[in-house]
Assembly symmetry: C2
Homo-oligomer: 135 residues x 2
Amino acid sequence: MDQSTASPEERQDADLPFDVFSKRCPSRGLLEHATGRWGSLTLGALYEGSLRFNALRRRVDGVSEKMLSQTLHALERDGLVHREAQLVNPPRVDYELTPLGREVAERLLGLIHFVEGRMSEVLAARERYDAAREV
Amino acid sequence: MDQSTASPEERQDADLPFDVFSKRCPSRGLLEHATGRWGSLTLGALYEGSLRFNALRRRVDGVSEKMLSQTLHALERDGLVHREAQLVNPPRVDYELTPLGREVAERLLGLIHFVEGRMSEVLAARERYDAAREV
């Protein structure tokens, strides 16, 4: 984009070292981990408090063991989730948000509560869209 | 979850008619359209103003024509994006956010700018994670 015609917001973006709109920027991978199908629900669930794997799996309704495990590994590597293994028998592992993860989860929950609150509008829009395409 | 031990936030969630944590709730599909790999970037790009298909495709770096087309259809059906076809020759189609799409995009951009601004912490966390697993 021509910077001479860029809006103030675009110029601000250009000054940032990271830009999710660029396919090579590592921030895009982070955004995908945090907002992906299971990442957003995992972060939202952990915002309520630390949880063990099976409790987390029940809260994130529909996630498979494998997908939850992959999601947690990615979020742990990004520094958003902390994995705490306790040396007890039977072994006990808790997952909790890091301070950075908490800040991401807050913003995600803002979006989640917003879309939950406006779903009736969305359902009406879907009905109008489908009705306009019926012959 | 036992409601008698639920936090105030959880009880508030239980009163909402829609809940993304439930796999059958239609709000989960909306969240996925809005935060998916291409949905979030499409909404973020259109927040700057209406765009034609090819301009949008350049802004959402890396998206294929097919994926952008699918993304726009889903967002249009949800009532977040408006498609404006002008009867000119050659045909011209503009995409713009609806008022509801604008509110979703605002929250998404809040998250996007936040993660862009904290990427150096995330990169450091990834390095620590990988180093701890090297033999």
